[in-house]
Symmetry: C2
Subunit: 499 residues, 2 copies
């Protein structure tokens, strides 16, 4: 193997270990850290990030990348690895260190103000800081655009969804936006014709909810000898393949939210655990994009766990966990609870039918702001207009509108599309999985995820980032990302003929 | 300020943040991490340690240190800071990177074998690996000895107790070894003349023990908005001043061990919290040595919390925690429980009278091994001889002898003396504190640590490493480290005339 390529692998291994360390410090910050530690922890993370930046901007990396790109004896994995390294290098080196630092500072300040602004429903209070942050983000986007040779918004999106273009996203999203209004009406009509789903009466003690969550997560394949389940306000998945850290939150009045969050995060963890071991610590051993990552959580949560076969099995487990008796504990009622659809203001509480509308709105607005076509001061009005167009509702205030998400205020721009890409990829992969292995759905009916997981490990997980999301979909499903499978899934689930 | 000095401060700030990050990864490893994460975490820590090494061995550090040492306009804190930086630099750069790596590897392997060897009482199984490790440690000691210009054993000890000499340690330890036999007999005679201390009947649920531990820790001054209490097999103290992480373990049959461990670790945490804020992240803002650090835990545990006034107050709290009633819950019985003395084989369970004997034994043996005067194969015999000389007992097997401690097998040599230095410093400081503020002991009788902590913050904590341990003791007590105060404390407590 060439010295240049070998040196790059060694360097990116160090970068990956540094990223993992930063990830652990962040996990602890979210899950364990007492409030007094915030500043000290921020300093630690900033120090590690600076070391990361220095390792990546070392001139030897550029030299080795140039050399490795000229090599002709690399195998496909190695060649893809070099491409992924170059992409990551471009993202890190494109933006001047001073601008990175100023943006991080502005994001921290804006996020802090936003926390209060959201509670107090006071968009004006965060507007100056938000405008300043946007200015810096736009400068960063311009710098990345020059390096990546794509438009500024695409340069931001590229960090999360490498290679994604606005042309593609527009195609997917416009199609869904056109499909949604009539479909949603129909879903709501069908839903209204059926019994109203009703929550069993709580309270449901946290201890018992947690035991149930662990049981269900283990059914999917989670191994607590190599992972943890903890509690946070916003559920997330972190850690490393050998040590997955998932979190959820518990509502003592409603056990369904904790369960579904755990199943969702378990999907992320299973993907991480299935990564190709021989490419551990290399960019090609990671994910082709966050849409693919999200698809793995949504296959477990939306495709598998909110399906009627799974809920029918899970109902028995759930009843046993809470000593539940009576009609409200029936599989039918629990299934209806898990598949309720409603127009709503809050993205994170939205069902899978309306969720993409929330994402499409944010995509359009953030792109307009990055392109300079929408001023921050005009955001509340644009938000209301967008919600009216997409979902035919208008939020009563900014707390239920443009102040609801941390994204943007924390400096993350271009991330939103990955949620809906993930939903579409999930549907397309799950349809292919079902076709390839007719034992998958019957498996779910007995709480057996093994057939599904075996298929995912083989066709998705162990490929890492060897193929782009579209190339992987073509290999496995015969075509690139196509919203048809997602729409077919929704029609089948929500217009299901029960007669 | 000179460029060289300013550059050094910036560099050591980065090193400190890197050390803190490593510390957090280690804390998580001990407290939270599932077993599956061991290898991945070791890789992360190794990567951060390599970065630390690279930052420290950067040639610019040597140049700046030379320049800074020639500066005449540094104030006392800055000048001491440069001395401490040089010492740390010497420790890091003295040993070739290959030797560091080989030693780390050998230590990991030996520690793993030791875990089984201890359980199976099989010293022979760890002997080959242990011998190899010792060889590498001796090579490292020789390299450090050349750099520090002291004998090899002192070079190892210097990492934990900067500037300590074997001449001083011999003086302190020989004095105590001569004092102990007759004194111990007398203590045991006095103890035998009094009622036998007896544990109240359990079980004592972990939940209630933990609540009690938190209450007592808060009484000392621990603030749970800036710290955590968790559970580990071996109690320890970690984290950073703004985010203290202390641990304990719970025995449902005996609540006293958890309480005393928490009070001990709280003492460490209070010291960390009291470090001079304006020297945060600088060597001069840390501790002059681990003996001083240990003294702060022992002042809280041994001097204050095992005192009759404190136990009298705590007895009320303890009774309330467990609904205790009757003679076994009396302050007298609880005090006798907290001050039991006995010859024993296990260091970590030893009382404060016999503890130094365990340390003296280890000091003598590890020094002989480093000096080449004792071969590892002869360790079990030398251990038995030493225990007979010092405590007049012989362990029945190696599990109760030379296999009991992780030290040595994990590569830590030269650390043991700090425990007894800490006990002696604690007694000397506590005597001075009592003299300076006559409200300290009456405070303890009402659970009020404020007078003691105020004194410690002012006279010890906020000085960081501005003075060496001896210099600090001279400032505060009028003389350098002297075992007299420790012996006086033991006489007063254990030969107390109750008539």
């Amino acid at each position: 193997m060439s010295d240049a390529y070998t040196a790059l692998e060694a360097r990116f291994r160090r970068l990956a270990l540094l990223s993992e360390s930063i990830g652990m410090l962040r996990w602890d910050m979210s899950v364990m850290m007492p409030p007094g530690g915030v500043l000290a922890r921020s300093e630690q993370i900033a120090a590690l990030k600076l070391l990361y930046h220095e390792l990546m901007t070392n001139p030897a990396v550029a030299v080795d990348l140039d050399r490795a790109e000229d090599l002709e004896n690399l195998n496909d994995w190695q060649a893809t690895n070099v491409q992924r390294m170059r992409r990551r290098w471009l993202h890190t080196t494109a933006v001047p260190a001073d601008l990175v630092k100023a943006t991080t500072h502005a994001a921290t300040a804006t996020e802090t103000i936003w926390r209060t602004a959201r509670i107090e429903n006071d968009f004006k209070s965060v507007l100056p800081s938000f405008s300043e942050l946007l200015g810096l983000v736009r400068d960063g986007a311009a710098a990345k655009a020059a390096a990546l040779e794509v438009p500024p918004y695409e340069a931001l999106m590229d960090l999360y969804e490498p290679g994604a273009t606005t042309a593609t996203i527009d195609g997917l999203f416009d199609d869904y936006a056109a499909f949604l209004p009539e479909f949603l009406e129909e879903v709501l009509r069908v839903q209204a014709s059926r019994p109203v789903p009703e929550l069993p009466n709580g309270p449901f003690p946290v201890k018992e909810q947690e035991a149930l969550c662990r049981q269900l997560s283990e059914a999917v394949g989670f191994d607590f000898a190599s992972g943890r389940l903890d509690t946070t306000f916003h559920p997330f998945s972190g850690g490393v393949p050998e040590d997955s850290r998932i979190t959820t939150r518990y509502d003592e009045a409603d056990f369904t939210s904790a369960i579904m969050a755990v199943l969702h995060e378990t999907g992320h963890a299973m993907y991480e655990r299935g990564r190709p071991g021989s490419w551990r610590y290399q960019p090609v051993g990671e994910t082709p994009g966050l849409g693919m990552h999200e698809s793995q959580s949504l296959i477990v949560e939306m495709q598998a766990s909110r399906s009627r076969p799974f809920i029918t099995w899970a109902a028995t487990i759930i009843r046993a966990a809470f000593d539940g008796e009576g009609e409200l504990w029936s599989a039918d009622n629990l299934y209806r609870l898990s598949t309720r659809v409603a127009r709503s203001f809050i993205r994170v509480d939205a069902d899978e039918v309306t969720y993409p509308a929330h994402v499409i709105l944010r995509y359009r607005l953030e792109r307009a702001m990055i392109d300079g076509d929408l001023m921050p001061a005009d955001l509340p009005g644009a938000w209301a207009d967008g919600m009216r167009d997409l979902l035919d509702v208008v939020p009563p205030d900014d707390r239920n509108g443009c102040l609801q998400d941390i994204h943007w205020y924390d400096g993350a721009w271009g991330y939103f599309p990955t949620y809906t890409i993930g939903a579409m990829v999930a549907a397309q992969l799950f349809a292919a999985a079902q076709q390839a292995n007719t034992g998958i759905v019957p498996g779910l009916a007995t709480g057996n995820f093994e057939p599904l997981m075996r298929w995912l490990r083989k066709e998705v997980h162990c490929l890492g980032a060897r193929f782009s999301t579209n190339a992987l979909l073509e290999r496995v499903t015969g075509q690139p990302l196509d919203p048809a499978a997602f729409k077919a899934h929704l029609k089948s689930r929500y217009l299901e003929d029960l007669t």
